[in-house]
Symmetry: C2
Subunit: 491 residues, 2 copies
């Protein structure tokens, strides 16, 4: 057996453990009773430690060196070995105790955050955030960085991204985004309100969500949709990619777009090469690429007029009071824009501003330029500056997102990177005649096939930069995203 084959064996074993962690994590968010939390934190910490121990064992490192010395059989093997080098080097920089502690702290912090959010009381969460921030800083020091500690965290989610470059990109986009948002919100105020008012029974929403997710190509034989406070997509193993959503019986679009968004993530995961499961070639390239898939399906497909030409009649069957709503009015209602306090409820025209706020704030937190205790005040000030009003409480402000409680500092920027990638990929895909023709007849298979071939099939065997370059012929550039927003919201 070649060293590469043996190394693959170890990677599979690591994947057995990490996918088991995913089952435990999914259960924690969906069905786990509250008193199970302490033991669950121990289980997760134990498994994290085991996976880490395996990945960093001297036998693994020796096999990696031998695999690097072997002549690769193909490009994929070469990419897998390089990717494993990156993962193993990174893991080796983190002591096992650190990994276990991080998992234990964040598993418990999620519950504390949820309670603090329920009570809208940041002071309850602050001590945990302090711990998590301490862990994040230690992690950055352990991993190393060029310019500033935030680089090390950002790189965990977006390979090769540099804080300074992202900050410059966001600074350049900010005035454009702010102008689009202001104009879109102003224009929406002129719309007739209440067009979609009515009751949308949960069961009927579930029927529509499922039909639409299936029509996009999401495989329910290898997935399902459950209900959680926050929608997410989780991969529990090959053949097991699950989505979640939530329901509000006064509106159906929030749950539906949530499902389309998560289904976008799910389609990517279901499309990763199964033969490389557990290896870089069978894993997502980055969160910026992941998010491009969710945004593409949610926004570019799901919020388009073409999409609703097909699906509004079906929605009218399920929700008969919609029968009086014409497509034009429906589209105006869908594309109405407002300054929401809550990021996950924000529309496209205002969404990125939420990210800019978080990115800047996180960067200062990690750098030590902002104290945890000042987060609510600074959040509210920044929000007011961007959106012109102040969140009424912490639940609608700095306590709204789960990310910090999960230890996900460095994560937020990938949402806007995803928006940029989504617009650019969708524009490239639509230049294919069969993709455009498919969309005309509400057949999403050609689009999915294009994404499978140009994005999914590469896994992390290509860098995000290479994926964007190869798929679109250009490096990632916000101009498609800005143009898309202008056309849709100001056009």
């Amino acid at each position: 057996m070649s060293a590469y084959q043996s190394l693959r064996g170890i990677a599979s074993e690591v994947a057995l453990i990490t996918s088991t962690e995913s089952v435990l994590g999914w259960d924690q968010e969906t069905y786990m009773p509250e008193k199970a939390l302490g033991h669950r934190a121990q289980q997760l910490s134990y498994l994290s430690g085991k996976a880490h121990g395996l990945l960093t064992a001297s036998r693994t490192r020796k096999l990696l060196e031998r695999a690097e010395a072997e002549e690769p059989e193909n490009e994929r093997q070469k990419a897998n070995v390089q990717g494993l080098r990156r993962l193993i080097d990174r893991a080796t920089k983190l002591p096992q105790r650190f990994v276990e502690e991080e998992k234990r702290v964040t598993t418990r912090a999620k519950a504390v955050w949820a309670e603090a959010r329920r009570q809208s009381d940041f002071s309850r969460f602050a001590p945990k955030l302090e711990m998590i921030l301490g862990l994040a800083r230690r992690k950055a020091e352990l991993l190393g960085y060029d310019d500033e500690p935030y680089d090390a965290l950002l790189d965990l989610y977006e390979r090769d991204a540099k804080t300074r470059e992202v900050a410059a990109l966001f600074a350049k986009m900010r005035p454009q985004l702010a102008a689009i948002a202001r104009a879109a919100v102003a224009r929406s105020k002129e719309l007739k309100p209440g067009v979609l008012k009515g009751r949308y029974p949960c069961k009927q929403q579930q029927i529509l969500n499922r039909e639409i997710a299936e029509s996009l190509g999401y495989d329910f034989g290898a997935g399902r949709i459950d209900t959680t406070a926050h929608p997410f997509c989780a991969t529990l193993g090959p053949g097991d990619v699950r989505l979640t959503t939530r329901y509000d019986e006064t509106k159906f679009l929030s749950s539906l777009f949530g499902v389309m968004h998560e289904a976008g993530h799910g389609l990517y995961e279901q499309g990763l090469p199964g033969c490389d499961y557990g290896l870089p070639g069978g894993s997502a390239a980055s969160l910026g690429i992941h998010e491009s898939q969710s945004r593409l399906w949610e926004n570019h497909v799901g919020r388009s007029r073409l999409f609703w030409t097909k699906w509004l009649p079906r929605a009218q069957e399920l929700f008969p009071h919609l029968k009086k709503v014409k497509l034009d009015a429906f589209m105006q209602a869908i594309l109405g824009s407002e300054f929401s306090f809550i990021r996950v409820e924000a529309d496209e025209a205002t969404y990125d501003l939420h990210i800019l706020l978080r990115f800047g704030l996180e960067r200062r937190l990690v750098r030590g330029a902002l104290d945890v205790k000042d987060v609510p005040r600074v959040w509210n000030e920044e929000y007011r500056e961007l959106f012109g009003r102040t969140p009424p409480d912490d639940r609608h402000g700095c306590l709204q997102d789960i990310h910090w409680s999960m230890g996900g500092l460095g994560y937020f920027a990938t949402y806007t990177l995803g928006n940029i990638n989504a617009a650019q990929l969708f524009a490239a895909a639509r230049r294919q005649r069969n993709v455009a023709a498919g969309l005309e007849r509400s057949d999403y298979a050609p689009l999915l096939k294009w994404l499978r071939e140009n994005v999914h099939a590469h896994g992390a065997a290509l860098t995000p930069t290479r994926i964007m370059q190869q798929a679109t012929g250009r490096p990632a550039d916000p101009k498609w995203h800005i143009a898309h927003l202008r056309e849709r919201y100001l056009g």
Copy 2:
């Protein structure tokens, strides 16, 4: 640190792994999508192997020897060391590869069985049963036995039970049970049918199930109820004991008694000493004791007139068409008896006959006196002999139970042993004035307290025999069970 403390540490680590297996197993039965099965089998097999490896490692065995040489601090420590000796010796007899293979085969066999049952086609399941039988025989040889291989399997579920003694007990009970069943069924034929006819909406059933489970003392903060094809109770960790049931909107009692049964198991698990979690002192004594708890709450409490004096009015609120039903008529309907093809739907008066059939058949299978291919024929013949009619198909015959597909040969006898223990324990508990008084006013706390102290608190620190002796002053004897059936069904 004493050797005992170190050994406890290893037992905790094993429990982290096995409880993770429980989460994976629970998910497999409740929510896992079908295409996840292959990977799930690998995860379970991997974890089983890891737990087994840890339990049988030479370091563990050396610590055990040193712990045995230490002066125990108390009786509990002594019992834990003895129990670990038993577990570790048993595990050491089974090679890790065998354990992994067994888990892989049975995880997949469950899905094959479910499909065969759906199709009512035993021939689809037969090859898997052949494999499982082969594994069971190999296991018996590896574990060793005195009289016959079945002893080794039975002992896995019912500590110290001997096949020959169980067979003698069942042979002695058989004519009594058959006479009771015949008379009960004959008497039920005279009853007015259709008293409980009507629609029982699932949501309303769930309300009643939950209220009743709570009133027995089941803690929903550390548990939940989900829906599965077959009801079960699973412990996923301390503070995490989950029940499942199923719903039929034409009747509510089947789901409710299912919940009371599983809640009985759940109360036992929730009552095991948390300080000894992962050790014998914090684990169930045997399945015969476990089943005594489920039967006690389901049958002795749940099917009693006293119980329905309190709960019929509540049921009538939830299901208004029951308002016309008087308590006498309701009790007659509940206690009606018939020869069901399906064990889990059988009433108390006929239930044990189902067990006698399975026990005899399994024993012959394991001994090699019965071929897998002849199972449907022999099942149907035996059924006819006991119940006077022939199952219409395999789904209503030898394919109805999940046990064989899980590798659970040796399991069935514990149901009747549980019935025997339940009647004897309930009789002893009712001799306590406060327990009897509690039941009179539908307060189940004194009964639960008595069970906690006399059964739950011991975990497996006492043998099933000792538990019965200490709790009731007598060794287990079927006379209370037989007397209970006579009084309830022929009285």
